[in-house]
Symmetry: C2
Subunit: 362 residues, 2 copies
């Protein structure tokens, strides 16, 4: 080939810094040859050899090869689509850097031994954290000697420390977006069917919604906020009483997979969507196949995973990343659908039957 062993090492190195030491043309020639021969460096060998380099230069390795996703969930809670969507996104991103993603479930105290073990064995270069993450989780991570490795929290968390790196949905923007979209369609009385309000994101979503309601001069009426429970249970009568009493012309459901139930209740009550009442949903963007093309605000759990992996790589190579770049908020996106429409002048419920309303379900 006429190239040195070192040049090959430079070319195939996952470190772009080393790649650049070769001319792009030479590098490509080497990569082609390597590809042709199907050569892949032995993982354990390169990892071991790099240990020396790391200790010689007295800095931690800057490469992100093996990432473990720690899912801290209750022992009973096995099924969690959100978690898998984030894993999918993280794996997608990591695979472009030839890195792998391991899954580590932590339910009980002693499960942290697994994490400690991985760290001490030098088997992991960074952590992604998902689930009920709080200060205690982080201190667990530090204890095992795993704290010298970079970590990023995915999604909601309850850490009080200000410098904890995370990627989450911009929940405030979700609430704002909802109010804005419906306001633009002329709605003034928007019903807000909220969840249990135990979580931060629920509070933030509502705060963003209230802000926008004020900003757009919509009706500020506390009665417009209702618990989603009655609707989820399919209790038609109380739901309809509330709807009539509040005179809401649009409904916003900030929790995933709630809008379908709401539409079901409205259908049973023969309330036409969107002619009489508009419905705006929230969905995970990757669950697109499931929904019924409702108008919705999409929050991409996959994107959280992707961005988490990217952030982790940056933290691995540059510990002094500015704080605002360590705290990433993923923007939600409004996706149009059949279930919202322009406010009609007289679409208080029961005042009229819309003449050319669309069929509400497929």
């Amino acid at each position: 080939m006429g190239v040195s062993r070192k040049a090959v090492a430079f070319a195939i190195s996952p470190d772009p810094h080393l790649n650049r030491k070769l001319s792009p043309k030479t590098r490509q020639r080497i990569l082609d040859a390597v590809e042709r021969m199907g050569y892949v460096p032995h993982h354990a060998a390169s990892r071991l050899a790099r240990v020396r380099a790391a200790s010689a230069t007295r800095r931690a390795p800057t490469m992100l090869e093996h990432v473990a996703m720690i899912c801290q969930v209750l022992p009973t809670q096995a099924v969690d689509p959100t978690c898998l969507a984030m894993m999918g996104g993280a794996e997608l991103e990591l695979s472009t850097m030839n890195a792998t993603l391991s899954f580590v479930r932590v339910s009980r105290e002693e499960d942290w031994q697994k994490v400690k073990r991985l760290a001490r064995a030098g088997a992991v270069d960074g952590w992604l954290l998902y689930g009920t993450i709080d200060d205690q989780t982080i201190s667990h991570l530090k204890q095992g000697g795993a704290g010298t490795l970079p970590h990023v929290i995915l999604g909601n968390h309850r850490c009080s420390r200000t410098r904890v790196p995370f990627v989450d949905i911009d929940s405030r923007a979700v609430g704002r977006l909802a109010a804005e979209h419906l306001a633009r369609l002329g709605h003034r009385r928007i019903g807000y069917l909220h969840g249990n309000m135990q979580y931060d994101y629920q509070q933030r979503t509502m705060a963003g919604f209230r802000e926008a309601v004020k900003e757009f001069g919509l009706d500020e009426d506390e009665r417009l906020f209702d618990d989603q429970r009655q609707w989820l249970r399919g209790n038609v009568d109380p739901s309809m009483q509330w709807l009539r009493a509040t005179n809401a012309t649009a409904l916003f459901t900030p929790e995933f997979d709630c809008a379908a139930a709401v539409c079901g209740v409205l259908r049973q009550a023969r309330v036409e969507v969107p002619a009489e009442v508009s419905v705006l949903a929230c969905e995970d963007a990757s669950g697109a196949a499931r929904n019924q093309n409702l108008a919705r605000i999409e929050e991409s759990m996959e994107e959280i995973g992707r961005r988490g992996a990217t952030l982790l790589r940056e933290l691995a190579s540059n510990r002094a990343l500015p704080r605002d770049q360590q705290q990433i908020k993923v923007e939600p996106a409004l996706v149009k659908g059949w279930s919202t429409g322009v406010l009609r002048t007289a679409n208080r419920m029961g005042d009229e039957r819309a003449t050319n309303s669309k069929e509400v379900h497929s």
Copy 2:
């Protein structure tokens, strides 16, 4: 400590064969000391050193340290609770052997490069396969040089080769169990609300059901088989027409998460469960928190993952495992709940209103 380096290596080796070379007492003493000092062998180093041993003895390494779960799903299909439940089970089992589980999503043809790379890098000791697995998947696996590693298919697959190792639910037993349970309660006309019947497991479930219907001398009436679609959509009238026409006194819903919709339709039609009609569901055992304590047949996806990991370990250490031990069927379990009851002599629909029927929903 007064023990040799070799003794320590033997004691901490993940290979039980080596562990046994020491007296249990000595081994425990060493393990305690190791634990106290928090020593964990460097992963890459031990892996590399073992390469020599493997090539010297001319056999593949028998240890299962790193397992990758290949999820072959459509690019759009990100959310899949079943997959995560299996991963959880596999990770649980693997963690007891100090092994890790990586997640590799394969959606497009070129994603197989990732698998190939992992195999060539010697980074993986075995594969778990999930998703739309067929003969082509297996040949993909073999091509990358990854075929020398053991693999186990989790759940449903379409491989025609007879010796493919897998762990799956015993679907036949699901159908049998349903018919048996309802027959014992005195039911003779059981409605079967089936899915799209595209998959093998759907065919097998129905076959098992038909077998048991014959065995228990229940009514064999083709009209008792109905597509679940009308019920899932909440179309009350056609569903009720079918129910009245068939005179079914019990309904079995073999697909996950279908029974709740069926109960909803019955509630709307004011048909009391179980006084007038019994409902028997199918659920993932780990999704227990979700269901409403319906009578159900539980299929444990987590168990599939666990057994898959165990089988993989056996394959890794013993390639000549008898075929019947490579093909594992996990037994479903009947879980009692409020939604099935003993057949009343006169509980044809509408003949009477049960006097002391239970409240049907929480």
